[in-house]
Symmetry: C5
Subunit: 270 residues, 5 copies
């Protein structure tokens, strides 16, 4: 469960509700016809914009924003360093056995390619192609939600135009002017809220998550290629640490000094 998505949505809904309740009732903001035109129109335009297979993924894409995704790079570095140590002590072929313990398909694939004695250039090629497609699938999903964030306010405006046109044609009863405009504006309200509280934030969350996943995969590739070249685990750690933010690095360093003796030797160099 991704807590920030839930907390943010609830906070936003509460803020909007409270500021409505301070001056009126929530009932004034519930209008089925307005829901119908804004949500229906947004969905209709999204259906046209993408092909069937991508639309089927839409539910998965949204649900992703609610699922916890933990990319613990520190832990990943430890894993790669321990693999590097095995490779140094027992040779590359010994990695086949250590691999049994991991349920990380990307890392497994990379190690199997190393064990198979695949050429470094080819390994890099295969793994980077995979990262490229992970990235492009993610950005496909984000683009769908970005489209929805653009369609929602547009249909909000369409709904308001419909309301205004119908109201202006029957201006005999000047008492109905106010409530008529109020109802017309509700679709704009829906469109703006949907775009700014739901679609845009979720799209940004998915983008940030995708960047973290790609970063992790790039770190895996860097590590795997270093292992294959038989580089010193100390140098490997140095390379991989660059992938971690300074603040996180310091915390990790504190742990390291106790656990990893080969880092100590490097201690005064950093």
């Amino acid at each position: 469960m991704d807590l920030t998505t839930i907390i943010g949505l609830i906070t936003g809904a509460v803020c909007i509700s409270i500021s409505i309740l301070m001056a009126g009732s929530l009932a004034a903001f519930w209008d089925l016809a307005s829901v119908f035109i804004v949500l229906g129109g947004t969905i209709a335009s999204t259906i046209i914009s993408y092909h069937g297979k991508m639309l089927k993924n839409l539910k998965t894409i949204f649900s992703k924003a609610f699922k916890k995704a933990d990319f613990d790079l520190n832990q990943d570095i430890e894993m790669i360093i321990s693999i590097a140590n095995v490779a140094r002590r027992e040779g590359l072929l010994a990695l086949e056995d250590t691999m049994a313990g991991t349920d990380n398909p990307f890392l497994k694939k990379g190690i199997m390619l190393i064990v198979d004695g695949t050429d470094a250039e080819l390994i890099k090629n295969i793994l980077e192609t995979e990262v490229y497609f992970i990235q492009s699938r993610h950005s496909e999903g984000q683009s769908m939600i970005n489209s929805m964030a653009a369609y929602a306010p547009a249909y909000g405006m369409i709904g308001t135009l419909i309301g205004l046109i119908l109201m202006l044609r029957n201006l005999d009863d000047s008492d109905s002017l106010g409530p008529g405009m109020a109802t017309a504006l509700i679709t704009t309200f829906y469109g703006v809220v949907l775009a700014n509280l739901v679609f845009t934030p979720i799209s940004k969350k998915l983008k940030a998550r995708s960047e973290r996943e790609v970063l992790q995969k790039e770190m895996y590739i860097e590590g795997l290629l270093s292992i294959q070249e038989g580089e010193n685990p100390r140098i490997i750690r140095d390379k991989l640490n660059a992938f971690i933010a300074k603040r996180e690095l310091n915390m990790e360093k504190a742990k390291d000094t106790k656990a990893n003796p080969e880092v100590k030797a490097l201690g005064n160099e950093r």
Copy 2:
């Protein structure tokens, strides 16, 4: 027939119609003069924006959004693997015969270049140039429809300005104020609906389709070059599978395990 385009357009039109009918009549939204200024102006600006040859393609480009386009990458991979198996068993020259069965001009051209003994670099060069131009022709078409998506609301605004200016000059009859403004707003309504229900979604659909087609062609190139280099079909499949989304890959894997024995051997490596 591309169902999503049809379904989306109908859904959108129904949503808008219903929300009009709930508060008034559709007749209030039909105004020939407004159709004239919005559609006519959009077409006029599009005619200026592009040269004759591209404008002739406009009908083809729109119709593309309604035609079914099925890029079944799984099936494409099977085809490439079977070609690779033939090449391995019977040599590259044997491919000339297998090619007779396919009606895929891009793949045929690539295989003929291999059979001719063309240099790998040159094959890559020729095929990538072709992909580059497929891509640039597609983006030309999308840019035309994007222009229309930008012109439509602008002419909607022009129509509304015309209506407002004419109405405001004759404010004697204050009863006509409402209906006058209602009519003036209809062009804005047309412009926004055209942009958000027709032009923008169709441009996005064409973009998504173009990306799929380019992806397919890039997979063909990857496969063809691997075949020429005589790579192991197992490695080729590994490379090409990266082009498929994870979700689809799993379904394909299930099928594979039964049908393709060379994959089984690799089974525990992934």
Copy 3:
């Protein structure tokens, strides 16, 4: 004469005029002071934005959008193939004579460089630099017209603000409210029409034309380098055909089968 520019401008003007005439008179939309502020302001800001030399080109740039520009790539390919045939039969030096017949300065320059025995890398370098600068001069012109497309609605808004401010200060006579606002809105009308019927479409036309010209030049470079390397005319045609859209290619193929015997041999390969 570029017909699409003329036809588009007339169509647009007619559409706008008719929709005005259906509800009022054109005279209501003629206001010299409004022309003055919108056009004058747009020109003033454009003068500040660019240096003298570029401003002198402005007339040339606009007139370009009205001149016919025919880039017949099929004909260009035939010319390059016939040059390639001469080069194959009679050697590169024989090209000096064939060159006398062409009035194509870019192609001439390239062939003279070949005849001079210039290094392929240097030829590519010189010609690509030329293409790069053609491209950057074109985009300079487009950027000027894009600026005008942005300034025009801004000065339309400035004019409307001036009109509104002056009118609102003297609200004693409530009868003048309507006509006052009508006049104030005319500048906005001018700005939006200028931007969407004139500046933006012309800028897009110039962009599309520039892309076609650059494409043609890139095809020339590809052809010239292939000729210098003494490649087979059949392969050269294959390479160059990739520059042409599929639809056009088919038409050209139909002609080819009759005229060019060396294509026939390749017929079943495609």
Copy 4:
């Protein structure tokens, strides 16, 4: 303390306050409910948009805009030149001792890699990876504040829509129309001020600062690699001076002519 941030914020607040006070009282612009919807909504959408770890950094990111950051490139160049002189006179290994005096972790790390005899390519690789991640962490922070700059006016509009809808529904009392609209507009006012006086300027400041830091790090890398290659300090200074703006360079040159004799010899060359 970054004075420009403080001075700018105060100047902006004073300008806005004075122009309010000239025509009314500040009390008219204080509305707790409006603060609640604009700030609350902006925070809610930001919480959804990013994952927990990044949100924890938000305070640090904002505080950065208030802390003094001095990147004195002239001083950095002097330091690198003095290191280069030591390296020339006493050899690369002697750098380990000089390094003790500096508290510059990036420079220290680079020099330690040189002392360790690491390959130039690898040093460049490690340090550039570090710069790349510094850059991407910075742009992550800027993107968060940019998001807030986009959400704030959106929630300002949502608040105004809420106010308008509630007011229009109860138009009986036409006296409350004015004050009602005034209150509704306050959220828009808050949103626009937050975006243009706080979020956008702070995001730009962080961007400018990040660029300066990256520039400094790139200069370090250039200098370190030149030191390792044993280049002439004169040439190194020439290279590094390119990193400094002309205006600053002249001031530095004036100092140089007195202090650094090796520059004098080069004096008439520049």
Copy 5:
């Protein structure tokens, strides 16, 4: 003195003044409080957005848009060709003396590097780094003025919101409604005029000027490297001419045919 900047600013101011005077008095558009909020706010946000050193440059950046900058590429080419002729006849070392006559620091630096016998790769590296930083300093200045172009209308809107809110709270006196709104709109007027007549055009002028300067510097580098390699002045001229627009080239060619005999020989090749 850059005439286009002055002429443009005066033209713009005259256009706006005349269209005001045709319907009212300029006095209606002078409001000190409005100047205060728009200019003060814009400056405040700009102060926050950039660090002190850049802000000090602001005056220099603006004054640049008013100073004449003449990049006569034709003259530059003549100079480079004459240097190339000297280098061919008398050797690279002879360039040290010819250099005494020029007050072009960039060219001088390049020639000194050649005379010093510096490696071509290193010369290119040093000079391109210098160009890169010239470019990035320029774009820093443009970004500051672009920011001001964005802040000015925002503060115009803030001022209008302040005016509207204060006016709407005191709607008792319906006579003050018009003048109140007129005053409120003046800040929007100021913001839009500042952005579209001053900031945006000046930013565009600086961009165009920067591009010309970078082009000149790139031509210098191309020329210097060709001189070092001892290339034929004829070939050098050919390369450098590509940097000049066709229209200018023709004028230059006319002059050339008389003055430079080595071009005549090449005459029929172009």
